[in-house]
């Protein structure tokens, strides 16, 4: 009993210190597609947040059709806003690093992540993306919607074969 209340107080204190209570998120049942680590308020286990396809599908989706500089035809992307995924994991850093399967790594300041842009796309033209074609996850912007999404900086942040995200302070 004494131990329990001490633990309670401890977790409460740490929760208050990180501005918000740490939340235990459900563990993914399928193959893990995305792993978040670093400065997070929540965790699925071992201080990281892992997500499978089903969990991504259950989040609010955003869909748009745009041309890209990487493909000849216009494509339709379906995915979840990056900001929602960061909120889900309780990311607290000022900046995130996104790392691809080939260890390509980019940095995005959190201040430049908009509410619904970019998205982490998991479907292209309604189909899951294979690893051989930039899948399974791809950070994309609605390039056609605004000229500000057609700069080199944005292109470099459009990381495909996304594997993990680290929240940096």
């Amino acid at each position: 009993m004494y131990m329990n209340s001490t633990l309670c107080a401890l977790s409460l204190a740490s929760g208050l210190a990180t501005a918000g209570l740490a939340e235990q998120l459900p563990a993914p049942s399928g193959e893990v597609l995305l792993t978040l680590s670093g400065a997070l308020a929540n965790e699925t286990a071992d201080g990281v947040v892992s997500l499978d396809r089903e969990m991504l599908e259950n989040m609010e989706t955003v869909e748009f059709t745009t041309s890209t500089i990487w493909m000849e035809d216009e494509v339709t992307f379906t995915g979840v806003p990056l900001s929602d995924v960061l909120d889900y994991a309780g990311a607290q850093g000022d900046e995130i690093s996104a790392v691809a399967l080939n260890d390509y790594k980019i940095e995005i300041p959190v201040s430049e992540i908009e509410e619904s842009s970019p998205i982490i796309a998991y479907l292209m033209n309604g189909e899951p993306m294979s690893r051989r074609n930039k899948g399974p996850l791809w950070i994309v912007y609605d390039y056609d919607s605004d000229a500000k999404y057609r700069s080199e900086v944005i292109y470099s942040r459009s990381i495909w074969q996304l594997d993990r995200i680290v929240s940096n302070n």
């Binding site: 500089i69 990487w70 493909m71 000849e72 399967l101 080939n102 294979s130 690893r131 051989r132 074609n133 930039k134 000229a147 500000k148 057609r150 700069s151 080199e152 900086v153 292109y155 495909w160 074969q161």
Partner: protein
């Protein structure tokens, strides 16, 4: 005494304009650099950086070759990594086939 003051005044008068001009030039250069940098960040780019994309293909192919050699020599080859390397290289090749600026 009066002469000396006059001289110092004359020197100052001669140096001062140069000083002002120098500071002006320095400011202009600084502003120019800041503006071009900002322009570069915001400029609409017609496509991905071609040099980088091409060199990255080579990087991924070399990584694949390395991994394949390792797998060949190992008794318990790490096939998952080998497959991942292959998929990365494959994806890069598709990119060259379809990207604007290449296709």
């Amino acid at each position: 005494m009066a002469l000396e003051l006059f001289r110092r005044d004359a020197i100052l008068r001669r140096i001062l304009p140069f000083g002002v001009i120098l500071i002006g030039i320095a400011l202009l250069i600084g502003l120019f650099l800041a503006i071009t940098q900002r322009m570069n960040t915001l400029r609409e780019a017609p496509g991905d950086n071609i040099t980088w994309t091409l060199s990255q293909v080579e990087v991924d192919v070399l990584l694949l070759t390395d991994e394949a050699l390792l797998a060949q020599q190992s008794e318990t080859p790490d096939l998952a990594t080998l497959r991942r390397r292959f998929d990365n290289a494959y994806s890069r090749a598709v990119n060259i086939q379809e990207s604007r600026g290449f296709a």
